[in-house]
Symmetry: none
Subunit: 241 residues, 2 copies
């Protein structure tokens, strides 16, 4: 993946035509890498290719994953696009501020992704909680429904603008790099495995909520690999004490 | 026409479906008044109404004109949207600057319009020359073709943004507030107390570094009080297991 542009992750897109139109919108915004999580239809079907309107290479190079976690495993910073308000503690950026944030991360050599949900429902909570923050496109609150390709277009457009305007200031770099999502999630799973007999784990609903809360906490804190190792050490110490 | 929002003028749109989708994009951006110059198809056809997706009133209130000059006769400031470079001496705004210019004109009680050309060819030179300036959406120069509704959406979106206050990114919390520093530090101390015999705690230098690492992690994640309570529960569970 190019280090200087974010990839686009479409989670369970329903219609091949929409995937094609999203590819076209990506090309409009000079985005290149498309990742698809369990697309319902074939993204290389005639319908998809036709809708992509000369952006076939985006579709042909797209990669398909069988889970959102797999699709974001190598990324360090992910924004989830949502229209609805979510019952999660998460930073919410307007599209322009989110695009600026991505530009700063990229200039700091972080691999970034923009995640979009299925056409009808948008992203599920368990996908949103995997993202570092939420990106919201400010639109008429009385009519903010966008089709998938329009959402990709607006967010991509905001990113494109950051690339042609004065560059945002670089982040001061750490000595160790920000952990990628796979490492953060491995840690979360490690912790979750240690909680088997925790009271809240007996109730399936509470358990689900707890898992989402924990993943939010540890995703939001943008840990470095060193910090993750510290936490592993602590968990292991605590459980074997 | 509302004095505070620009009207949208579609010159010779070809497909009813595109007019419907443009109406939908207008509603996304809280634009209301649509003017059509010699549309090829009926803008109230079933295809148009269906494509408008709950924005039928924009179509039903649209006015049809038999010339561009008639459609803009009562306006004081008109921007022409073009993708290609035009051989005309005309001020060219990027979409955001054009939207800002429109916002200034509106606040000065000028009636304003945003003009878009036919799908295939864009605006003809004789229509562009009627506009005060040109508005250009910055996109990938190698692939800048947009469909009509997407052009309306991007320009409308830039205008919509001028109408809302810039929003700083906000942490959305629902049921509980972000914990104050005292609570976060109390939690850190609670955790630190449980680490008494942790290997890294025996070396005073390593201990100091560990404490700083931990406090960084938990400060950066901006936890809510509820999340802190979850973590207390987990630490207690792990240490008494």
């Amino acid at each position: 993946m190019s280090d200087n542009i974010p990839c686009v992750i479409l989670v369970e897109p329903q219609l091949a035509e929409n995937v094609g139109m999203a590819a076209r919108a990506m090309k409009n915004c000079a985005l290149k890498e498309l990742r698809l999580v369990n697309p319902r239809e074939d993204h290389l079907s005639a319908k998809a290719l036709s809708a992509s309107s000369n952006s076939e290479e985006v579709l042909r190079q797209a990669k398909v994953y069988n889970s959102t976690t797999a699709a974001i495993a190598d990324l360090q910073y992910v924004l989830a696009t949502t229209a609805r308000h979510r019952d999660q503690t998460k930073k919410v950026f307007n599209a322009d501020a989110g695009a600026a944030e991505i530009a700063v991360r990229l200039s700091n050599n972080e691999k970034c992704g923009l995640m979009f949900g299925p056409e009808r429902t948008g992203l599920r909570n368990e996908d949103v909680c995997l993202a570092d923050a939420v990106i919201n496109v400010p639109l008429n609150p009385e009519h903010c429904s966008l089709n998938l390709s329009q959402a990709v277009l607006l967010v991509g457009y905001e990113f494109y603008k950051t690339q042609i305007m004065p560059q945002p200031p670089k982040l001061v770099t750490n000595h160790t790099r920000v952990a990628d999502k796979e490492k953060v999630l491995s840690f979360c799973r490690h912790l979750e495995n240690r909680l088997e007999n925790f009271a809240n784990y007996k109730d399936e609903h509470k358990k689900e909520k707890l898992v989402i809360n924990l993943r939010n906490i540890f995703t939001r804190s943008e840990m470095t690999e060193q910090e993750l190792n510290t936490l592993y050490g602590i968990i292991n110490y605590l459980t074997t004490k």
